[in-house]
């Protein structure tokens, strides 16, 4: 006899159970959660402001500083950093950073430093902002640059963490726009069919045949220069989202065209349900698992789109922190030859994309009850 929970298990409970059965999906899920949390609490985690205010003029293009745990004599110590001093190299006449480990600078925990906004709500009539200056770690004197600094002396560690959040949020924003458009167009098109379907599908096809990269480029160039980086940010999310809806809309439509002839839809109609109730309560939920999976699988592509736009210098630009912006800095020959820490954001980017793809894959397999029987 099976447990009662088996019978009351909803679609999502079943999907969850199947998802957690796979170690790879679980690991990717945990990684994803860590990354999202890192992005969310980026300010708390970074000891210095990720902009010119937090730049270290004395440590330009500086290599990553790794905290040390052992003294020169080999005994254990609290984590500390050596002091870096600029000296002029007599032979090349270049300024170089010299480590002076006589002067130890110890790391501090839960340091109070620069102020950031933890929560910022603007509800029109009232503004609510919660600021904080608490940070996970800092250093007694001077600055700490775990991932080094770039050519203006900005801390790459802080910038990377903030960039994760910008890239993620642009992805989610674009997806929200895409989802709304897809559900609306696909839902109406599929449920009503006939002439409405023909018109909407013609429109969808028209959008679909426009190649995406040129249109992104054209629109990005068309954006007025006087726009603030925030406006640009929303505009880019909107453009990416608006041009990505046809695939999902079309799939939803096809699914609904088949599903609306099911008897339970007729049963709902005979029960007096209105069209919108049928679409909301019966048709879209029947496709929900697919929608969720498709959405999660698509996040990396949208992040990729933003990243490539910014990389080309057409999306976001300095001083905004996004992964694309950080990477576009790494185009210099000099960077590629000697300043390899510019590439550290790439690791996070790859991890993030990988996590999304693996979670999406796991969810897709979990949502398809027949996937396991392909023996």
């Amino acid at each position: 006899m099976r447990a009662e929970s088996y019978y009351t298990a909803g679609q999502f409970a079943l999907i969850r159970a199947r998802f957690f059965r796979k170690p790879v999906s679980c690991a990717a899920g945990i990684l994803l959660i860590i990354l999202i949390l890192t992005g969310l609490f980026a300010s708390f985690l970074s000891p210095h402001e990720p902009n010119s205010a937090g730049a270290n003029r004395q440590y330009i293009n500086g290599p990553p500083q790794m905290p040390k745990f052992r003294d020169q004599d080999g005994s254990w110590s609290k984590p500390y950093l050596c002091t870096f001093e600029q000296q002029l190299d007599r032979k090349t006449l270049r300024r170089v950073q010299v480590e002076n480990c006589e002067k130890k600078r110890y790391l501090t925990w839960f340091t109070r430093s620069w102020e950031y906004q933890l929560i910022s709500l603007n509800l029109g009539f009232t503004e609510f902002t919660l600021t904080s200056d608490l940070h996970l770690f800092g250093i007694e004197t001077g600055q700490i640059h775990l991932f080094g600094t770039e050519k203006a002396g900005k801390d790459i560690f802080g910038r990377t963490l903030h960039a994760i959040w910008v890239s993620l949020s642009i992805g989610f924003l674009a997806l929200t726009i895409k989802l709304t458009t897809s559900l609306l167009v696909g839902g109406i098109s599929g449920y009503f069919g006939g002439r409405i379907d023909a018109v909407l599908q013609t429109f969808t096809e028209a959008v679909r045949v426009i190649p995406s990269i040129p249109i992104y480029l054209a629109l990005a160039v068309a954006m007025p220069d006087e726009w603030s980086s925030e406006t640009r940010y929303f505009a880019i999310a909107f453009i990416i989202g608006a041009f990505d809806f046809p695939t999902l809309a079309r799939r939803l439509r096809t699914h609904l065209l088949a599903e609306r002839n099911q008897e339970y839809i007729l049963a709902a109609k005979l029960s007096g349900s209105s069209s919108s109730r049928i679409i909301r309560k019966h048709l879209i939920p029947s496709f929900l698992s697919y929608i969720i999976v498709d959405t999660i699988i698509n996040v990396p592509y949208i992040i990729l789109a933003e990243t490539s736009l910014s990389f080309l210098g057409l999306g976001l630009s300095e001083p905004v922190n996004s992964i694309g912006v950080l990477l576009s800095q790494a185009q210099d020959v000099e960077v590629q030859q000697s300043l390899l820490w510019y590439y550290i954001p790439v690791v996070f980017f790859v991890l993030m994309i990988l996590a999304f793809v693996l979670v999406g894959d796991g969810l897709r397999d979990a949502a398809d009850p027949y996937s396991e029987e392909g023996r």
Binding site: E263, A267, S271
Partner: protein, 559 residues
């Protein structure tokens, strides 16, 4: 005694599923002699198809044959251990060469995009080693043998071009063309109309007499088995619970389950007795009509091309009345327009000309020009119970939500508590366990699902129900339960039920009035006893005589 053909010993088949091992067939032993027809009877899930498929090793990959399972096939003195065969060549020779199979759904058994001839010729070439031309002649020969006209033309046709009965004939011809020792027929007539079923059964019997072929005949219908089989095995949950010669088993069944199956078989004698019991008294009773249908036409239009429109008349010039507070049967073969008629009565599909006028106790509805709020008001009075207990319940809603749908959609209750109260009340009425309301439909069997469907139809307290093939997808014993429930509800709530069915036995047991339809027209209409015992029209007479009954079991198998 004749020669032994197949020997099945201690067959046990287990399936590996997500929830663990599932034993489909357990300790099944039987044997078939050359030229013998063995009937295998049981309800869905009883393991009869798995047993048959084991004979050809056709079960899906997650099936395991537990030792000491043994199947031996005797072919010209040699014994073939079926379950031990592994090589593709040996399996191919077994499947099609030694044993052929006919399936339930002939439409699904042929590839839709390859001509029938090609499929037949390929089979013959493969198994008999004929050349192409020879194989074609052979195919034509067999198509003629199964009683198809113009066999040459059939070779070039595709499966969708033939009617259901013709498809099944081609299927039989294909199965026989390789000259198998054993023919397995898995519910070969279940998907067919009664009259076609009678023809196919006659054909099988005739072929059997002519070629002396052994057959394993699987069905859930004891009436059919009584007609074709010599011996009978009754299966229940994977085991054989009763076996013996057909006549003896059916006339004096020993197992309780067999008796229950037998009770569900229609018997015209019972109907006669019923009529003699309730003489003229009921016929003269005056009745008021609930629905008046006048000159109803239902035409489906479809756009065949960009500008062309083609139309198909499903129902033409239907005139009838439905009396209040009775169960009325609507019978006809597939394609006769009975479903269209039932749906038009609920305004689920539009109708072109004619009128449908309802007279409920306090309200009158003319379906012409009914829309918006008045349509919603009408929906409270008339509801539907569907055929497919799987497709008609949304798998993503809990049973409670499914039953509450009409109340919530039409906002008939003031708050959630009242809705819950109504749901619990109707669920108890339909004998659903209240604890099950939180479950999802996938946890229920077909019969329970149909109870849910009935509860949903009844929750807004309608006075008229259209039940479209409401028990056609259910097993016989569960059919009986659902029919009893419907009868009881009808009596208690004073419902009027239009019961649409192709199954005349169900109609005979349930209904008081019958309407017979053919090709979109109403052929005959009257009290059930009159229609079944003294049909006036030829069509009705053919329909009735085609019902496989056990009434004349005594003489049939003597030959």
């Amino acid at each position: 005694m004749s020669e032994r053909l197949v020997d099945v010993k201690n067959l046990q088949v287990d399936f590996k599923t997500e929830e663990g091992w599932f034993t489909a067939v357990k300790n099944v032993s039987f044997h078939i002699e050359a030229g013998q027809v063995l009937g295998l009877v049981g309800e869905s899930g009883s393991g009869k198809s798995v047993t048959a498929k084991s004979l050809m090793q056709l079960n899906s990959n997650n099936a395991i044959y537990r030792s000491p399972s043994q199947i031996n096939l005797y072919n010209s003195g040699q014994s073939v251990p079926v379950l031990q065969l592994r090589s593709p060549k040996a399996l191919r020779q077994l499947r099609g060469g030694l044993i052929s199979m006919i399936f339930q759904e002939p439409m699904a058994s042929f590839a839709p995009a390859i001509s029938l001839g090609k499929q037949m010729v390929e089979t013959i070439q493969l198994h008999l080693g004929f050349g192409k031309h020879e194989a074609e002649l052979e195919a034509i020969h067999w198509l003629g043998q199964v009683g198809l006209t113009e066999p040459e033309r059939r070779l070039r046709q595709y499966v969708h071009e033939l009617s259901g009965g013709m498809r099944q004939r081609v299927m039989i011809a294909t199965a026989l063309s390789t000259k198998p020792r054993l023919l397995i027929a898995d519910e070969p007539t279940t998907a067919l109309d009664v009259t076609i079923q009678a023809q196919v059964l006659d054909l099988l019997l005739e072929l059997r007499q002519r070629f002396g072929m052994a057959m394993l005949f699987i069905t859930h219908d004891l009436g059919v088995i009584g007609k074709v089989a010599d011996d009978l095995c009754v299966m229940q949950s994977g085991q054989i619970i009763e076996e013996g010669p057909v006549q003896k088993t059916l006339l004096t069944p020993s197992h309780e389950y067999t008796k229950r199956l037998l009770a569900a078989v229609p018997s015209l004698k019972k109907l006669q007795l019923k009529r003699e019991g309730a003489t003229k008294s009921s016929e003269q009773e005056p009745w008021s009509s609930l629905v008046k249908v006048k000159d109803l036409d239902i035409v489906y239009e479809s756009s065949a091309g960009l500008l062309k429109r083609s139309s198909f008349t499903a129902v033409s010039a239907a005139n009838f009345e439905i009396p209040t507070g009775k169960i009325i049967g609507l019978v006809g073969e597939s394609g006769s327009g009975k479903t269209s008629l039932g749906r038009a009565l609920l305004k689920a599909i539009p109708f072109q000309t004619g009128s449908i006028i309802y007279q409920f106790k306090d309200e009158k509805f003319d379906l012409n020009g009914l829309s918006g709020s008045s349509l919603k008001a009408f929906r409270q009075h008339a509801q539907m119970v569907f055929q497919d207990p799987y497709g008609s319940l949304n798998p993503r809603l809990t049973v409670r939500d499914i039953i509450a749908e009409p109340l919530e959609a039409m906002q008939l209750t003031k708050n959630r508590n009242e809705t819950d109260l109504r749901v619990r009340e109707i669920a108890t009425r339909c004998r659903l366990d209240l604890e099950h309301l939180r479950r999802f439909p996938h946890a229920f069997s077909g019969g329970q699902r149909q109870r849910i469907s009935i509860a949903r139809a009844l929750i807004c307290r309608p006075s008229f129900i259209v039940a479209d093939e409401a028990v056609a997808a259910l097993d016989v014993s569960i059919q009986a339960e659902i029919l009893d429930l419907m009868k009881e509800l009808q009596r208690e709530l004073g419902l009027t039920i239009l019961f649409i069915s192709h199954d005349l036995s169900v109609i005979a047991n349930l209904c008081e009035q019958v309407i017979v339809m053919q090709h979109g027209k109403i052929v005959e209409q009257g009290p059930v006893e009159q229609i079944f015992l003294e049909p006036k029209e030829d069509y009705t007479r053919n329909l009735i005589s085609a019902i496989p009954t056990l009434d004349n079991l005594g003489g049939l198998n003597a030959s």
